[in-house]
Subunit: 227 residues, 2 copies
């Protein structure tokens, strides 16, 4: 008789549940980022509260996800791709947690920009960045959920675009500060927001890298060092 | 006969090895941060290279640490404190990895400040912050290695000081920019360095929180949300 450690029906069910959990957390993170950008464009205390609540929810859910993953590893002793999938769930959970915190950072920075006059060019730069990042977040999440390597690989190129936009907005914000000294005290928050967006993009890339590692066993380190 | 799943000699040995691994990675991270600050005070390409190499080494070592931890969980099915210790090793590894990257960020930002005139006040603020952060890093690492709850708890208060210094340096840098428009293009890197230091301090706090959770089972989430 063939040694059939897997598939065990219950085990498969537990893996499916993990994927559903990751998807749930991912959707909350994507929404948190959207609301943070809304707050940047039109600050509103309720939006900041929404993003903060989302961050807390993500922390709680990813904490439970991690416990579940560890308990499955201990009780089922999965191997190969199954093991890598469970490990990936832990990592993806912690990336999503960080994306939640960075979204709160954006919404909080937006508070400092409320009512201030922001150069149209900087608004455009940052919204352009935010749109790319939003798309990268979805790609990162769905590349993992659907185990789609092509989508995961695209994220590296997307990230280059975000990096270019980051440099561009740094330059534009700096020259605006130069033209209008009075704007310095709040314009620095535009710099921070650009930086937060760039960090979220990095996390989206990490979601893709983890997906690639899960499927191919290609070490994320090598990928990460490419940049 | 008493059911003696633990202590098994080999199992204990493997746990000791994990602790040694964490300590090794921690020492490299502490040194990377020191070199990054040296580069800030007196930029030198070799220092940037050292920090980058340290970051790469940390990534490699923490990757192997994670594999080891997962394999111990799967093969030994540890419970309670032993399990929490192993999980903590994974988390601590990933915090140290992030500290390595942030150190590279500091050294790279320092490159942009090379040869520029930086106001003495800002140099003082940032060095003050860097010293506190250096001390927090050690505390974070040793609180985990020695399972010292008091040390772990102190980190929250240390972090408040770092946050105050961050606000202070933000204010000082902004007012220097205001006085000397030509400085804006490089002074923004001081803001970024302040932010990187603040992020490293947060990671040091996370090391302490993880230690507390490992010992008391008190959820890190609650602690994290306190700020």
């Amino acid at each position: 008789m063939e040694r059939k450690k897997y598939p065990r029906i219950l085990f498969r069910k537990r893996l499916r549940e993990l994927k559903e959990d990751v998807n749930e957390i991912g959707q909350i993170a994507i929404q948190a980022h959207k609301n943070a950008i809304k707050a940047f464009n039109n600050y509103d205390k309720d939006l900041l509260d929404d993003v903060t609540k989302a961050r807390d929810k993500i922390e709680e859910l990813s904490f439970h996800l991690e416990r579940k993953c560890i308990s499955i590893i201990a009780s089922e002793q999965p191997v190969a791709m199954d093991l890598r999938f469970i490990e990936a769930c832990i990592k993806v959970g912690s990336h999503l947690k960080r994306i939640g915190s960075l979204s709160v950072n954006i919404a909080e920075a937006a508070k400092n920009l409320k009512g201030e006059e922001i150069p149209a060019r900087s608004m455009e730069d940052l919204n352009h960045m935010a749109n790319l990042v939003q798309m990268m977040l979805s790609k990162g999440l769905y590349s993992f959920i659907d185990q789609n390597m092509d989508m995961a690989r695209e994220l590296r190129h997307d990230d280059d675009k975000v990096d270019d936009l980051f440099d561009q907005s740094l330059e534009n914000v700096t020259s605006s500060m130069f033209q209008n000294k009075d704007s310095i005290s709040y314009m620095i928050y535009l710099l921070f927001i650009a930086r937060f967006l760039e960090r979220i993009a990095d996390r989206a890339v990490s979601l893709g890298d983890r997906t690639i590692f899960m499927i191919t066993c290609e070490k994320p380190k090598k990928l990460e060092l490419k940049k």
